[in-house]
Amino acid sequence: MMSFLYFIPNSWLPLLESAFYALIFPGFIAILLLAFFIIWFERKAAARVQMRYGPLWVSKRTGGIIQLLADMIRFSFQEFIVPQGADFIPFVFLPGLLLAFSVLPTVFIPIGPDYSRIFPSNYTLLLAVAFTLVIPVYLVVLGWAADNKFSFIGALREAYLLISYEVPFILAITSAFLLYGTLDLVKIVGIQESTLPGIMLNPIAAIVYVIAVIRATGRVPYDIVEADSELVFGPYTEYSSLMFGFVMGVPYIELYSYSLLFSVLFLSGWAPATGIGFLGGLILPGIVTFVKSVIVMCFLVFLRAVYPRYKLDKAVKAGWSWVFYLALIALFLSAVVSRILW
């Protein structure tokens, strides 16, 4: 398949392929470009609703799509201030760690049928979910390290919401597992291809998953953790300069990995495009999966233009009551559907 790279020894090819996957698509560079796009889209779509232009003057011809780049350049020239009472090491290193951990789940989420060749594992779903769940723990530490009352309250809010929405999230994942009977995401997509997309097989699990994702990534109406009129910027209040850019980007990258998982679990992943090899088995299906998850992301960021912020105690209550009940119903539905189908 990669015969055009004739000057490279054959033994290097798998390594090269992995490197391509990790660095270019759907890895680092694709994520970076997507972050540009999705932040631009969020601002532009909200601006459209709100009767204004949104980002425009940085490259007017493209509608200001490189606004984030301009912001990043500006951030990098600002002073990075560490508050006197802050715990230095966690305060300085956690943003980078958060960024790394928000990218990591994408390693385990396949983008094509041939992916199992690169990352052979029967537990990709479990691994992906496990790595998405690491982030809130760091967020709580980060809020504590900043030595700011608003950061501290933001971190506590994160902890409360984490506990109350992680349970429905895990239940939604469990009902997906129950539905497909496997933890291998490649096989899960195969099952969806042969029957129906997961969102039709178990719509309730998909709804619970989306609610949990809105909560986990702090999208409106669940931007309770960084509520600006209450807590300035929640756990990230004390960050300045490039570190602020990092912590601002983390939720978007998290959103990407969650959406990728959603399109694989419920939208039958790369469904129409299947094949083998590098191009047919990874790139073309990868683009289909990518586009599906971008559509999911666009929907989730568009909520900003519609809803105000929810309240902490009500959100926690909802997480333990109707979202939890929905998750239980999803579990039951999965059991029924899987019994009917196979």
């Binding site: 204004r52 931007d223 509520a227 300035v232 105000p308 912020r309 929810y310 309240k311 902490l312 009500k314």
Partner: protein, 406 residues
């Protein structure tokens, strides 16, 4: 109707006891905070529950009262407008009514009607601004942008009338500075229809939004008796079920000529404080329409002032409807005495007290603004709520720090 108000007495002893208590966190919200405005809110929280709130006002004190003692009577007009920047016409009107009572003159009916029209346009803008601030405090940038932008047609109208966009200084002792331009009524009708259509969008996206109802219904409740006892004013008082409106109870300008409702709600919570502003916008529209339909003919300036104008000024007035400032207007010296006036501003009752010693400057000027009188919401209503309710209650009472600080 009565409800027990959780009050922590404000003494330093009580305060220090509070601070000594374990598990209480003192939060300084503001003055540089996204949810504070130009003030500082000292809040003590126990867990997520607010136990005490102390609004620290005065960050934008301008000294309007003291400064006006050094100004000519007419030069104090631009200054009394400054504190309440989104409701300048009503602020201007109250001062001028007090001054006219000192001077003992009654402006002609056409001027009174024009005053009512501009005052109601100003009220609509003030309420829209209140809705906008409420929106952004609850985290909805959409409603903030919409409501601020929907003031635009009304700003344009007053710009056409007065030449300014925010501080118009349009109302002067004895009348108004400009007559309505040609075709003004049609333009007002276009703006009103625009807003009527927009209000439907607000209802869909904001007023009936389940998250808005969940966050504001039942939050920040104040019963009728407590509202009277605490002395809150304006739409907030009416939202608590007290039918009190200066326009009805003590009519000024031409308000006695119009029939309009004073909407009230029984609940007295944040959601009803939002709804009452929407209702009052509808009433204001009705008043503007009535006033434009029944607009009397005649001069827009006190007859005696017109007579004493120079021929050139009279010619300018007859041709363009513009009142040039004569020496007589700029050097008013009312007889010795004192006068009070009350107007219903966008945020509530505005009270003016003017004392004259016969000179060219006010001897004493007192201005009581509605925002200052709505401060008890911080100290008496916020305690007992959650931390996230502070911006909701703050936004719902339409508190404007520069207005309170004067």
């Amino acid at each position: 109707m009565t409800q027990e108000i959780k009050t922590v007495p404000f003494t330093y002893e009580a305060l220090s006891q509070l601070e000594m208590k374990e598990g209480i966190l003192e939060l300084q919200i503001g003055p540089a905070h996204a949810g504070s405005g130009h003030m500082r809110i000292l809040a003590w929280v126990e867990g997520d529950t607010v136990v005490k709130v102390d609004p620290d006002v005065g960050f934008v004190h301008r000294g309007v009262e003291k400064l006006s003692e050094d100004r000519l009577y007419i030069k104090a007009i631009p200054m009394v407008e400054r504190p309440s920047l989104v409701d300048t016409v009503n602020a201007n009107l109250g001062y001028v009514i007090a001054l006219e009572r000192l001077l003992g003159l009654e402006p002609p009916p056409r001027a009174q009607y024009i005053r009512v029209i501009t005052a109601e346009i100003s009220r609509i803008m003030s309420h829209l601004y209140g809705i906008a601030i409420y929106g952004i405090f609850m985290g909805s940038s959409t409603v903030f942008m919409w409501a601020v932008a929907d003031r635009e047609p009304f700003i344009d109208l007053l710009q056409e009338l007065t030449g300014a966009r925010i501080t118009y200084s349009h109302i002067i002792p004895g009348g108004v500075r400009w007559d309505l331009p040609k075709g003004f009524a049609d333009k007002v009708e276009v703006a009103l229809r625009y807003l009527e259509n927009r209000m439907k969008d607000y209802e869909k996206v904001w007023i009936n939004n389940p998250v808005v109802v969940a966050r504001s219904a039942g939050v920040g409740k104040l019963g009728a008796e407590d509202a009277i006892r605490l002395g809150v004013v304006g739409p907030n008082l009416r939202a608590s079920g007290v039918k009190y409106d200066v326009r009805k109870n003590d009519p000024y300008a031409a308000y006695a000529d119009f029939d309009f409702e004073v909407p009230t709600f029984k609940e007295g919570d944040s959601y009803s404080r939002l709804l009452i502003r929407v209702e009052e916008i509808k009433q204001s529209m009705s008043i503007i329409r009535q006033a434009l339909k029944r607009l009397p003919e005649g001069k827009v300036i006190y007859e005696d002032y017109y007579k004493r104008m120079s021929p050139l000024m009279k010619e300018i007035y007859d041709k363009t409807g513009r009142v040039k400032f004569t020496l007589m207007l700029t050097s008013l010296s009312p007889p010795k005495g004192e006068a009070i006036s009350r107007v219903e501003g966008g945020r509530g009752e505005m009270f003016y007290y003017l004392v004259s010693d016969g000179g060219k400057n006010p001897y004493r000027f007192r201005l009581v603004t509605p925002s200052f009188r709505n401060l008890p919401y911080f100290t008496h209503v916020m305690p007992g709520h959650k931390l996230a309710d502070i911006p909701v209650i703050y936004g719902s009472i339409d508190y404007f720090p520069p207005e309170a600080d004067r």
